[in-house]
Assembly symmetry: C2
Homo-oligomer: 389 residues x 2
């Protein structure tokens, strides 16, 4: 009798085991869904996670704030530089000025250093400026200028301002060429002119000095240039798998791109474009013999790409290593799958729920967020309804 | 002692059970890869699976053939109608004429009936023609005309010719408006003119007669019309989950669409378009008061959509229920995820390996295939390297 009971138990255990394995729910398709975490952000541009729920957010048309994602409280960080170009006062609806990126130093926990890019103004006009400061008691202390992209000008566009630290501990940032229309290009276009600070990507030490292993563009070149030929780039991010750096760029008429950052590369604007010029009569100088670097990917339609991040969270295991990238025009959100730096597939997410977006970010624990570019701007978390993560 | 042994066995079984569950390889991301099954097909247009490896294929610029996918043998089906417009003889590189779709009757196994659409010609010109025939001994027997889209004309474009049987057993097919440029539109545009056979989607009984429950467009309307306002549609397919019918459509300048077929609907061409006209001066009559049906999705860029199918195979479980759709221009392949007839996400696959494609099809066992639109055209199987299916 005992033997029979034991045998029955063993058989039941065996089948319950195999039933468990064979009844495994097959891999459910990703079901991304949005949850609003914060709203009433004035055209938010950037988010920096001090920890999982303690964040800094820049409002392009407002302030640098600190927010608690659980309590939903927010505080304006005091001491913002007085030379901020206040884009709210400007009457041009196309005005790009305001506060752009905020990132923290890799050793923030010990040195409390944060870096901010914004449009600074003087009597002549505005330009892109980068400062660093110690964040203490919700105030910016010991503010130091890191970079100013002279000249200050009346142009209100294409400041760039995207920033990231590389795995090498260096500060990388983008400065746009600042023009709206190609007819305003000088004979040697701004982004091609190494003596002009605009239209470039820079690599600096965290104190603003120039690394010794930067590319050597000659004595006429502005200090710190890492790459040139940039029209308007805002999103820049590191691939954590291999340390490579990627950036998005706005074309003129179409021509929006995803690029891989390479030392000394010339990304071609305005000699080369994946789209067309705003000004059909514009003729760029040929610059024969110049080696230009092609984008890894470009879109046929306008998407106005902004922020991007390499996804490493747990909610969407099928997205691991993919780029998630946001756009302004038509408010699209993209998932880009790469293999060995080549684009394999490109997916537009939330086709039924588009919203102009400025930033894509991951929290320290891998939660996926976007910032929407609206007057009533939102921090939105993207979760996976298929697994509740 | 026996109790201890039994206890050890039970514990081992328990842990082996749970180890099996916890060590499950997490859901791998889809890794679609292509395998060429047949080549040297002359611009293949359609594939019809008589069984898993016994297929009919139409070559737009060749023949109706029967092929064995294992042995890789092929046979030309004899008895093709003599009025086939031979597009090889035509010198216009834009010529759309030739053999288009081949499908089988739902009861093919007993009645051996297949349906073929093609460009037929007479002294006046060409038009879209649909025939049915019994396939016996690799020959077309008892050929019957089902539909002829008079007038025959000199135009070489936009024949349509996409065909499918619905779950209701009726034959659905598309006839394009045949024009290349809007300047050739009559005052009442062809696709809007119910007395004109062109630019319409039809629903007929399998013998070519008109079903009693077709929409009633009045006594001036051509028999069998189910929907109107169609410019150039080739792909038409049934959603097996619910019987709904979907079709793709080529816009003029951009304006490519995915549409849900609805009884009596007016899809708007040329009054409504998601893109622009080829002829910038064209002004469509306003036709106030007409109810037009919007596409479910349209592309901002040109993709020239052709065939489409709802994926139900096993290789890509994450794609179940999604539309896979091919394109000519730039040779893109798309995966479209819908929920309740609304597009949620749109993914371009094989961005690094584009090829002009005419058809997407599933074998009876759910294998995924495409036909490439090339002089050396190919039947390509798409498998999932992540699970070897």
């Amino acid at each position: 009798m005992k033997k029979i009971i034991i045998y029955i138990i063993l058989v039941l255990l065996y089948y319950s085991c195999h039933k468990e394995a064979s009844d495994n729910i097959p891999c459910p398709a990703a079901q991304p869904e949005k949850t609003i975490i914060l709203n009433e952000l004035k055209h938010p541009w950037s988010i920096c996670f001090l920890d999982e729920t303690d964040v800094l957010i820049t409002e392009k048309d407002g302030n640098l704030i600190r927010a608690d994602l659980n309590k939903k409280t927010r505080t304006i960080i005091e001491g913002f530089p007085a030379d901020l170009a206040d884009s709210i006062r400007v009457k041009d609806f196309r005005d790009n000025s305001g506060i752009f990126e905020v990132i923290k130093h890799p050793d923030f926990k010990s040195n409390r250093l944060i870096y901010i890019s914004y449009a600074a103004q003087n009597n002549t006009g505005t330009t892109t400026k980068i400062i660093r400061a110690k964040l203490e008691n919700d105030k910016l202390n010991e503010i130091q200028p890191i970079f100013i992209a002279e000249p200050f000008s009346a142009d209100l566009f294409h400041y760039g301002g995207g920033m990231t630290f590389g795995k090498d501990g260096k500060l990388y940032f983008t400065i746009g060429e600042r023009l709206y229309n190609e007819r305003d290009e000088p004979p040697l276009p701004i982004a091609q002119d190494l003596s002009d600070k605009r239209g470039k990507i820079y690599r600096l030490n965290s104190d603003g000095s120039v690394p010794e292993d930067n590319p050597d563009f000659g004595s006429n070149a502005q200090a710190g240039i890492y790459a040139l030929g940039i029209r308007a780039a805002q999103g820049i991010t590191v691939n954590p798998a291999n340390g490579s750096i990627w950036f998005s760029e706005h074309g003129s008429t179409q021509g929006d791109e995803l690029n891989l950052l390479q030392k000394g590369a010339n990304y071609g604007w305005p000699i080369k474009t994946s789209g067309k010029y705003r000004n059909p009569e514009y003729q760029a100088p040929p610059m024969e013999g110049t080696a230009f670097t092609e984008p890894v990917h470009y879109w046929l339609q306008t998407i106005a790409p902004t922020g991007l991040v390499f996804y490493t969270g747990k909610a969407f295991p099928g997205w691991n290593g993919d780029i998630i990238l946001s756009g302004l025009s038509r408010g699209s959100l993209w998932r880009i799958h790469l293999e060995e730096n080549q684009v394999i597939s490109v997916e537009e997410l939330f086709v039924n729920d588009r919203v102009r977006s400025r930033k894509v970010a991951l929290s320290p624990n891998g939660k996926l967020y976007i910032l929407t570019d609206e007057k009533n701007g939102k921090l939105v978390e993207i979760r996976n309804a298929a697994n509740n993560n």
